[in-house]
């Protein structure tokens, strides 16, 4: 085994701990957006698909790589847009501390798509 793999294993193990620590206490209202948001984050596999397309030769490899890029783009773009739509619903929250403010829905900042 080369030292390279050991370095990657180290990164892997540490990232695992970070992943658990960083979402320690999530209120259940955010379970769905969090799932959707992390779903978008693993869409970063797009980087990997672009890299393999670069080194692909021949029809088989290039076809497989083409679909890989396509699927990864669906994942990353769709994931971020859908999550943003879910979270849009939460934008009026601070304004509603007082009881009757419910009707005065202000225009929240309209964030651009990913």
């Amino acid at each position: 085994m080369s030292t390279g793999i050991l370095e990657f294993l180290t990164v892997f193990v540490l990232a695992g701990f970070v992943g658990v620590e960083v979402i320690n206490a999530v209120p259940s209202i955010l379970h769905t957006p969090l799932m959707s948001g992390s779903n978008a984050i693993h869409g970063i596999v797009l980087v990997g698909t672009i890299l393999i397309m670069g080194s692909s030769h021949g029809a088989v490899q290039i076809t497989l790589a083409f679909f890989a890029v396509l699927l990864a783009t669906l994942n990353i773009v769709g994931g971020f847009v859908v999550t943003d739509r879910m979270l849009e619903m939460f934008k009026t929250k601070p304004a509603e501390r007082s009881k009757k403010a419910a009707d005065s829905t202000g225009d929240g900042p309209t964030g651009g798509a990913a």
Binding site: M1, I5, V11, F12, A15, G16, V18, G19, V20, V22, I23, V26, S28, I29, H31, L34, M35, S36, G37, S38, N39, A40, H42, G43, I44, V45, L46, V47, G48, I50, L51, M53, G54, V60, L64, A65, F67, A68, V69, L70, L71, A72, L74, N75, I76, V77, G79, F80, V82, T83, D84, R85, L87, E88, M89, F90, T92, K93, E96, A102
Partner: protein, 466 residues
């Protein structure tokens, strides 16, 4: 510094962005910014990837990459923009599945590139892991989508000798994987991939519709791990970090979700095996011969208007009918009359944990009127009316009383403890879990059939007249 070092630094920046984004996503205040931060980090990383000379070495490949990205974006953006809030869970399942598929394809192509000179065993192991987990996630998400979209039954699918068949598939995959490890043969890897797709399907089939959200969270975590595996095959730290973050946090999130349902993850995933008989026993006595009491909107309007305390229990039916605004109108009207009103939210109301909160937030229901199950249940006994709007499984007492019922052990909102129970329902059809609800036949229960939005509108008029 070399170009590669610069790109690696950008990747490090993106990884930090992802970690901070996940942190933001777990608090209501920063969630939206967290998501935008993650999107920005991803865009930066993808953009700098094109700086690699290898990516631009062959112009045909580069053009194909850009074409595939353009097609992907052109499909994904409108799909994600137009999807109804009620169909979000299916959408997440699809986006997750394609991610798993992409990760599996990356591993396969890397293997094809390296196969001529037989790669080291640990290289093959990395590839195998990515292919296996990615394929399971891809096929499993597709079945989960079909269940949620009601393209197939939401009930657990069981068939004779299920465990035997599963065992055979598992053994076959292990043998093929070992074979691939030893020989480095491409056909064996392809066979492993195909069988992993089969495994994904048979893994998800026996999971009941009500449990699918937990399943999607688990598959999300799987895809994360598959992406981490493709990071190993490509020697790419960014993919390893991002994939592992999602994999680890996804497992934790999955556990939180199954905990919210009062069950262990193993119970959610495997409880349907060999339960054909008990499931049938739970569904006997189908309501045809038994009588239910249905009321008029006027009767129920009076009941609500003169109550002291009304608890609204929303479910998926409310979401389907897009009735979240009407239910808020009814609640506001009752509160003006001095009735105490709150919403009791089951953790898995709707089809995903937190789904109902999102929908009610869309209708500007103030957060202090939303009570989570644990907070609401002690108050149920003192409620005059429990108004169940399009919910079913989440108030089904079978979860407490009927051992062997598919939902036995799931915590429910104790609607049965209220003085009166009013069900707004489309029909006598059972809920998503596919089992009957005893509560419908209770003496305290009144039913009002129809689309939730129609019946709620009628109730608003009736309360005004009362």
């Amino acid at each position: 510094m070399t170009l590669n070092t610069w790109i690696d630094l950008v990747y490090l920046l993106a990884a930090v962005g992802f970690i901070m984004a996940l942190k933001g996503l777990s608090s209501p205040k920063h969630a939206r910014n967290g998501n935008l931060l993650a999107a920005a980090a991803a865009a930066l990383a993808v953009g700098f990837t094109f700086a690699y000379p290898s990516v631009r070495a062959h112009s045909l490949n580069l053009v194909l990459t850009l074409v595939a990205m353009a097609i992907g974006a052109a499909v994904a953006v409108p799909a994600a923009r137009k999807v109804k809030m009620t169909a979000m869970p299916q959408m997440v399942a699809i986006f997750n599945g394609v991610g798993g598929g992409a990760a599996a394809l990356v591993s396969i192509v890397v293997f094809l590139l390296e196969a001529p000179a037989k790669p080291a065993v640990y290289r093959i192991a990395e590839v195998l892991f990515g292919v296996l987990v990615g394929c399971v996630s891809f096929a499993g998400s597709a079945v989960a989508f079909a269940k949620l979209q009601e393209l197939m039954t939401g009930r657990p699918v069981t068939y004779p000798a299920q465990q035997v068949i599963n065992a055979i598939v598992a053994v076959a995959i292990v043998s093929l994987a070992v074979g691939t490890l030893v020989t480095g043969s491409v056909p064996l890897l392809v066979a492993t991939a195909l069988l992993s797709l089969v495994l994904g399907v048979i893994f998800v089939l026996p999971i009941g519709g009500a449990d699918v959200p937990v399943l999607i969270s688990l598959l999300n975590s799987f895809t994360g791990l598959a992406v981490a595996a493709s990071g190993f095959t490509l020697d790419n730290n960014l993919l390893i970090i991002a994939g592992t973050l999602v994999g680890a946090s996804g497992i934790l999130l999955t556990r939180m979700m199954s905990k919210a349902m009062g069950r262990s993850l193993a119970n959610v995933l495997f409880s349907a095996f060999g339960s054909v008989v008990t499931a049938a026993a739970g569904a006997d006595g189908t309501g045809e011969s038994r009588s239910v009491r249905s009321g008029t909107p006027e009767d129920i309007g009076v009941l609500l208007a003169y109550a002291r305390k009304v608890v609204i229990i929303p479910g998926y039916g409310l979401a389907v009918a897009q009735a979240q605004h009407t239910v808020r109108e009814l609640a506001d009207l009752l509160m003006e009359r001095g009735v105490e009103v709150f919403y009791a939210i089951h953790p898995v109301a709707g089809r995903m944990p937190g789904h109902m909160n999102v929908l009610l937030a869309e209708a500007n229901v103030p957060y202090d009127q939303l009570k989570e199950m644990d907070e609401a249940n002690p108050e149920m006994a003192t409620a005059d009316v429990a108004l169940v709007v399009g919910a079913n499984d989440t108030v089904n007492p079978a979860a407490k009383n009927t051992v062997g019922s598919p939902i036995y052990g799931m915590p429910i909102i104790n609607a049965d403890e209220a003085e009166n129970i009013v069900f707004l329902k489309r029909s006598m059809r059972p809920g998503f879990a596919g089992i009957d609800n005893e509560l419908l036949f209770d003496d305290k229960t009144t039913l009002l059939f129809g689309d939730a939005k129609d019946t709620l509108t009628k109730l608003v008029t009736a309360v005004k007249d009362a």
